[in-house]
Symmetry: C2
Subunit: 768 residues, 2 copies
C-alpha cells in the first residue's frame, strides 16, 4: 500500500498557506474585529461553588456613566436561556443557582473595559450558600444534594438526537452514562489471570493561546456574530433555540482561530454577547481573560477501574471497565466524551468480552468538555498503562504482548464495526526500532516504554458540503464550513483543490467560514477536516474540472478525454490553449466562473455500535526512553518517538506539526499539567500558575515518524490526523518509568514527588 502516485502539490511539503500572515501578525482573528460603536463586555462571576441566587440588583451598575447595558437573569424575555451541547442545563446567566466558582451571574457592556469592570463592582448579588461537591466521590455520595433539582435541565438521552423534553439523569448527579457490552461475561471465568487496576487522569486545561471571544451585532432582527468557534453551525443552532430566532437570521463568521483543542466546540461567549448586544442595541465584544478561560472549560479528570482477564501466554481475553468522568458543573460535551472514553478504553486489541460503563459525574467545579483525543486520552492512559503492568506480571515483554494481541489489518475494532486500516504491528515495529527498544542495554534508572493507540476518526456520521469556484483567469476559491484553528486546514484543503485542478497552490484561496455563505458543516472536530471535508472539496474540484474540460472540448470540437487541464490551459498533445480567452469569447463581459458543490457522507450503518461505522482509524504509536533520578524523582525524557499513520500526508510539515504538537501536549499531561483544587478553589487559576511544557522540556531526541499506509477514505488515501500524537505519551512515559526503576505511577501527572514516594514504598517493600 506504500506505492503512491507522484503528485504535484500533495507531498511537496509546501510551506503553510497561512504562515506569512501569522508570523507577521497580519492574520485576522476574532479579537481583531472592531465594529463602529462596539462596546466591551465583562462578566460578574460567582464566588461560591454552590449557592442559591436570592437577589441580583444591577440598578447601580446600569446607572454608571459609560455603561450601556447590564444583563442579568431578568433579561431572558422571549428566550429559552438554557444551552448545552446535548443536555440544555447551562443558563446564559445564572437563574436560581450558581454551581461553581466562576459561574456567570451578570454581565456589563460599556464604552470601555475600565468602566465595565467598575460596573461589575456595583452589581449586588445575594447568595445562600449550599453544600459543595468538588469531587466525583462527594458528588456520588448517598447524602450528596442534587445539583439540579430546581431548574431541571432538558435535552435527550440519545446524544445523536435533540429535543426539548425534560431529561432524566441515569443517577443522581450523573448526567450521562455510556454502556457497551459485547461477547460473553463467562469469558472472565476462562482466564488464567484477572487483574484489577485503577488509574486517575488529572483535570487539565486546553491552553489555547486565543481566549474565548466573540463580537455580536443585531441589525433589527438579524444577529451577526464573529466568533472563535470550531463549530459555527452548532453555535447558530444553539442561538436559534436560546433566542427563539430563525436560523436564517443568525449569521456567524469565523476568522482565524488561535487554537481550541476541543474547547471551542460549542457555545462559550456567544449567547451572552448576543444578549448584551440585543439589550445595548450596539455591537458588543465579549472576550474572556486567560483566567476566565480556566473557569470556562477543562479536560475531564477521570477515574478508570479496569478489570482485565488474560491467559498465561499474554492473550487478552476480557475487560470490564468502570470510568468516572468529572464533568464539572454542566454537561457540556460530557455525554459525547463519555461515549468515546468508553468506546476507546480497550485499545486496538482483540477481545472476547468487553463490558464498559462510563459515567459523567456533575461536581461543583468548572465544566469539562471536548478535548483533543476526546476521551481517548484518558482511555489510552489507563489501558496502555495496564497492558504494560500485565506484561510485567506475566513476565512477557511489553512489546511482545502488544504484538500478540494487536488487531490485524481489516479486523473489525469490535463486532459490526469497520476494520482497522493500519498495519498496527508495522507501526509498533517502526517506533521500537527508532527507539532502539529491542537491543537496548538494560540499566537501573533508565527505561523504555511503548504505547499503541487507536482513535476512531472522522466524525462517523458527518455530512460534508463544500464548493469550488474557478474564475475566468483560473483563480480557484474553495469554501467549506471547516474552520482554520491552527491545524492547517487552509493548507490542506487548498492543496487538495490545487492537485485536482493541476495548478499552483498559490492560485487557490479559501473563503473564511460564514454560516450564510459557507456550505454546511457540523463542525471542525474529530480530525475530520482534511479527510471528510477534503473529500467534499476533491469531489467539487473534480466536477469543476469535468465542466472545464467539457467546455474546452466543445470549443475545440473534440472529446474531453483527449484534453488535459494544466495551469488553466488546455493541453491537447503538444497544443496549449489558454482557457481565459476561450471563456471570454463564449461568455463576454467580465467572463465566467465554473462552480460546483461537493458532498460527501459515508452511509449510516445502524448495526454499528455507535450507530454508524467509523470511516477511519487514527492509529498512533509512541515510545519513550527516560532517565529517572532516584534521589529527586526527576524524570528526564531522553527520547520521545511518536508515529501516526496519516494514510497519505497532504502536507508533511502540517502532519508532523500536528503529531509533534500533540505529543508535546501529551508530555505536559504526563509530567506537569494539573489543575490543582483546594476543595472548590482552583489553586492554579492562570497560565502563570499552570505548568505547561517549555522548550527546555523537549526530550533530548524528539522525532515523529510519518507513516502513509495509504488506506484512508479521504483524498489520495488520506485519513486525517492530529489527535493520535497526544494519546501515547503519558502511558509510554509511565511504562518507561516502571522499566527504569520498577515503580508504577497510575495517577497523572507523574511528578517527582509521586516517583519519590513510589520509590520509598518500593524500598520499604523490599526491606519488609
Amino acid at each position: 500500500m506504500n506505492e503512491q502516485t507522484k503528485l504535484r502539490t500533495i507531498g511537496a511539503n509546501l510551506p503553510r498557506k497561512d504562515a506569512q500572515e501569522k508570523v507577521t501578525g497580519a492574520a485576522i482573528f476574532t479579537d481583531d474585529i472592531s465594529l463602529p460603536g462596539m462596546l466591551q463586555a465583562k462578566v460578574l462571576r460567582s464566588p461560591h461553588a454552590h449557592a442559591r441566587v436570592l437577589r441580583v440588583d444591577a440598578s447601580k451598575a446600569q446607572a454608571l456613566p459609560g455603561v450601556v447595558a447590564v444583563a442579568t437573569r431578568d433579561d431572558f424575555d422571549g428566550m429559552s436561556p438554557f444551552y448545552g451541547y446535548l443536555i440544555k442545563d447551562q443558563a446564559v446567566l445564572a437563574t436560581d443557582r450558581v454551581r461553581y466558582i466562576g459561574d456567570m451571574v451578570a454581565a456589563v457592556a460599556a464604552e470601555n473595559d475600565a468602566t465595565a469592570y467598575q460596573a461589575l463592582d456595583l452589581i449586588e448579588v445575594e447568595y445562600e450558600p449550599l453544600p459543595s461537591l468538588p469531587e466525583i466521590a462527594t458528588a456520588l455520595a448517598d447524602d450528596a444534594p442534587e445539583l439540579f433539582d430546581g431548574d431541571k435541565p432538558f435535552g435527550v438521552a440519545n446524544p445523536y438526537g435533540t429535543g426539548a423534553s425534560g431529561y432524566v439523569y441515569p443517577r443522581k448527579n450523573v448526567c450521562y452514562q455510556f454502556d457497551y457490552e459485547t461477547g460473553n461475561a463467562d469469558a472472565f471465568a476462562r482466564c488464567d489471570h484477572v487483574f484489577e487496576d485503577t488509574f486517575t487522569f488529572s483535570r487539565l486545561q486546553h491552553m489555547h493561546l486565543e481566549p474565548f471571544v466573540s463580537v455580536a451585532r443585531w441589525t433589527i432582527d438579524e444577529l451577526e456574530i464573529w466568533s472563535a468557534s470550531q463549530s459555527p453551525f452548532v453555535v447558530r443552532k444553539e442561538l436559534a433555540r436560546v433566542f427563539a430566532h430563525p436560523e436564517n437570521k443568525i449569521r456567524i463568521h469565523v476568522p482565524y482561530i488561535g487554537g481550541g483543542y476541543g474547547a471551542k466546540n460549542a457555545c462559550k461567549t456567544e449567547p451572552l454577547a448576543a444578549l448584551l448586544a440585543r439589550k445595548a442595541r450596539r455591537p458588543v465584544r465579549l472576550r474572556f481573560t486567560a483566567e476566565e478561560c480556566f473557569l470556562t472549560n477543562t479536560q475531564h479528570a477521570s477515574i478508570h477501574r479496569l478489570k482485565t482477564g488474560v491467559m498465561q501466554d499474554g492473550q487478552l481475553i476480557a475487560r470490564k471497565s468502570e470510568i468516572f468522568l468529572n464533568s464539572g458543573a454542566y454537561a457540556d460535551a460530557s455525554p459525547l466524551v463519555a461515549e468515546k472514553a468508553g468506546y476507546r478504553i480497550n485499545g486496538s486489541y482483540r477481545w472476547q468480552h468487553i463490558d464498559t460503563k462510563c459515567y459523567c459525574v456533575l461536581t461543583t467545579t468548572a465544566p469539562a468538555g471536548a478535548f483533543r483525543g476526546f476521551g481517548g486520552t484518558q482511555a489510552a492512559w489507563a489501558s496502555e498503562s495496564q497492558i504494560d503492568m500485565i506484561a510485567h506480571r506475566l513476565g512477557i515483554d511489553p512489546y511482545d504482548i502488544r504484538m500478540k494481541n494487536l488487531l490485524n489489518l481489516n479486523e473489525p475494532y469490535v463486532p459490526a464495526e469497520s476494520g482497522i486500516d493500519s498495519d498496527l504491528r508495522e507501526g509498533l515495529s517502526l517506533v521500537a526500532d527508532r527507539l532502539g527498544y529491542r537491543n537496548r542495554r538494560r540499566r537501573r534508572g533508565r527505561g523504555m516504554g511503548l504505547s499503541v493507540v487507536v482513535k476512531d476518526g472522522g466524525g462517523a456520521n458527518k455530512p460534508a458540503h463544500a464548493f469550488v469556484k474557478a474564475t475566468t483567469t483560473g483563480g480557484v476559491i474553495v469554501g467549506s464550513g471547516t474552520t482554520e484553528i491552527g491545524q492547517g486546514s487552509t493548507t490542506a484543503l487548498t492543496s487538495i483543490a490545487a492537485e485536482v485542478l493541476n495548478c499552483e497552490r498559490d492560485r487557490v484561496s479559501l473563503t473564511p467560514v460564514d454560516t450564510h455563505a459557507s456550505p454546511y458543516d457540523q463542525g471542525t472536530f474529530a480530525s475530520s477536516g482534511v479527510a471528510i471535508m477534503g473529500k467534499a472539496i476533491e469531489i467539487a474540484a473534480n466536477k469543476v474540472k469535468r465542466e472545464v474540460l467539457a467546455f474546452a472540448a466543445e470549443d475545440l470540437d473534440c472529446d474531453p478525454g483527449d484534453l488535459v487541464l494544466q495551469d488553466w490551459t488546455i493541453r491537447r498533445g503538444n497544443e496549449v490553449h489558454p482557457l481565459a480567452p476561450m471563456i471570454m469569447k463564449h461568455f463576454g463581459g467580465p467572463g465566467f466562473e465554473f462552480v460546483a458543490l461537493g458532498y460527501y457522507k459515508l452511509p449510516a450503518d445502524h448495526d454499528a455500535p455507535l450507530e454508524t461505522k467509523i470511516p477511519y482509524w487514527e492509529n498512533g504509536w509512541g515510545g519513550a526512553e527516560v532517565e529517572v533520578d532516584e534521589e529527586t524523582g526527576q524524570i528526564r525524557v531522553l527520547q520521545l518517538i511518536i508515529s501516526s499513520d496519516f494514510g497519505r500526508a497532504i502536507n508533511e510539515g502540517a502532519c508532523r506539526g500536528q503529531d509533534e504538537g500533540g505529543a508535546m501536549m501529551g508530555l505536559g499531561q504526563a509530567l506537569f499539567e494539573t489543575m490543582v483544587y483546594d476543595g472548590d478553589t482552583l489553586l492554579t487559576p492562570s497560565p502563570l500558575h499552570y505548568r505547561v511544557p517549555l522548550a527546555s522540556d523537549l526530550p533530548d531526541r524528539f522525532q515523529s515518524i510519518l507513516q502513509e499506509q495509504g488506506r484512508g477514505p479521504g483524498p489520495f488515501g488520506t485519513k486525517g490526523g492530529g489527535e493520535s500524537g497526544i494519546l501515547t505519551v503519558a502511558s509510554a512515559i509511565a511504562n518507561a518509568v516502571e522499566d527504569a526503576v520498577g515503580v508504577r505511577i497510575t495517577d497523572l501527572p507523574i511528578t517527582p514527588e509521586k516517583v519519590l514516594a513510589a520509590l520509598d514504598r518500593q524500598k520499604a517493600d523490599g526491606e519488609a
Copy 2:
C-alpha cells in the same frame, strides 16, 4: 395570458424586505465599514481640462504628520495602471496628461480627512495646458488634437471580448462606433415622404444618494475591498489586471448600495483605494464627495440626426440615424451604451430598412457611462419625438400612427431577433384610456402626448449562478452575485425562494455579495436581477425542494410525489410531519443543511444582431397631459400615466416603486436636469446647483399601471423591469407641449425659456 396561478408570496405585495433596516438607519452601507487602523483618502484633481503633466512632487505632502501614504503616477510599480470597461484608457492616477477638470492626479491617505485635505495642498503639480475639446463638434473638428496619442489605450474592438492588444479608434477622438443595417437602402426611394430632424439630449447626473466609496485592505498579498459596486466581479477582474494579481487573492464585499443607476457598474474608487492601501500598509477608505461624483460619471449628452421615410398613410418604412454620444474624457461604458443607443433608436415599430451609426466622441469633460435605460433614454427621446412630429406633418393622430406601426406580439424586433413579448397595442390603449386621450376636449394651452418604448432587457448573454440552503429548522439562505442597490432585489429574490419552498418570506434571508463566497454574476444591470438571477434561484430552490421531498419520502417510505412541502413540514394527505426531527434523527449532532446551486443562461445565438437573442423586452408606455403658460413658458404636468409590463410582478410595491421612480427621473430629464458647462467648466457642480424634481414637481395626477402579461422567461412569468419607466417621459411631455401650443422642443430639458423662445418664433412665423 392574464390568467395566473394563485401564489402565496408572489403577488402578495409584502413590504420590502429591507424596509425596516433602511427606514431606521440600521442598514449597513459601505460607508459604515470601519476597519481598525483605517485611513481616510482624498484626491487631488486637475484644474485643467486638458494639459500635459510635467511634474508631480508629493514629497512635502508625504512629510506632513498624519499622512501615511501619498500616491502619484510614480507608484505604479508592477501595475498596468490603465483600466476601463472595455477600452483600457483611464489611469488610476494621471500619467502623462489630464483630460478634464477633475481628472485624478494624486491622492493622500491620512489619519483623518482634515490632514488629507491639508496634504493635497502640499502636492506640487506642474501642467502644460493643451487645447480643450469640450463639445462633440470641437472634438470632431479637423484641426482638433488627438486626446490620446501619448499613452495609447488598449482593449478590443469587440465589446464582448477582451484583450490587451493596442486598440485603434475608428476615427480621431471617436473611441467606438456602432453600425447596424438591415433591409435595403432603396426603401427610402419608395417613400412618400422623408423627414429629417435632429434632437439633442443634455448631459445628466445619476444623483445616487450614496457617493462612490470603497474601503480597501491588503493582508500580506490578499486584497479585500468593500465597495458600493453594482458589479463586484467586474471590479475584481479589473483589479486583477491593474495590480497583476490573481483573482483568487482579491475579495470584494458589497453591503447595501445607496443607488447607482448604472454609475456604479465598473471601477470608480476601487483601484485608487487599493493602491493607497498597498502603499500605506493600512486599510483605506476612499469616499468621494457629491461634487466629486459629478466629476466621476455622467449620462451621455447626445445628438441624434434621424432621417425617416414614411408613406402618406403613416406607414413607417425606413430610418437612417446618426447618433453622437459625448463620452467625455474616457471610454468607460461608452462602447456598450453606443451599441444600445443605436440598437434602440428605432423603437418598437416595423421597419423595412434601418441604417444606424452611433459614435462615441471623446471630449475634455467628465466621463460618461452607463445610465438607467442604457442609451435607450436618449434613443426614446429622439425617436418618440419624431414619430409625433411625423404624425402631425401627415395629419394623423399620434395614437393612430403608433397603433398602425407597432410590432405585433411575437414579431421579431429586427430580423433574427427574438419576438416582442408584450401586446404593445393593449398597453398603449390602457395608458391612453387612463389619460382620457381619445375623448379629450382640445383647447389651446393644454395638450396630451404619448410614448411607447422598448428596451431589450436581461443582459442577453448573462450567465446566472445562485445557491439556496435550507437549515435543519427550515431557515432558508439564498446567495447570488446580485447586489441590492435599492431596486428591491432582496425583496424579490427571497420571495421567489419562499414561493418555491412554500414558506413565509421571513424564513428566507439573502447573503450579501462577496466575490469569494457568492456564486458568480456578471453584474447587477440590464434589469436582470429578478428575471435572470431569479431564475437561477428558482432552479436552486426547486432542487432543494426535490432533495427535501426525496429525503422525507425515504424516511416515510413512500413516493416523493405523494408529499407536499409546507412551512418546513411534510404533508401527506392529512398527516403533518415536521422536518426538523426527521433531519436530526438521520444526521444527528447539529443537523444538516440541504443546499443546491442553480444555473441559468439562455443559449447564445450568434445569428442575432447582438450576438445573442434578447431574453425579454421591457416594454413601456407613457402618457402626459400638460398645461403650458404662454406668458412664462412654464409647463405644468397635469397628468403623467406610465405603464410597464413586468410579465408577472414578484412584488407589486417594488415594481411600482421602480416604475414611478424611473418616471420621476424622466420628469427631471424632461423639464429640469442638465449639467451646464461654460466651455470646460461645469457651472452646476453639485446637488445644490443641479435641479432635480422636487415633491412639489409631482404631476397633479401621477399613476402607474402595472401590467402582468405573463410572458417573461423568469420565475412565474416575470420579466424584470425598472428601466422602461424613465424612457417614455421626456418624449410624452414634448409631444404634449406640441399638442398644447404647437411648438416642438427638440433639445432637452424643456425649459420655460426654450418654450417661450419657440412660442416667439411661432408668433413671428404666424405674423410673417
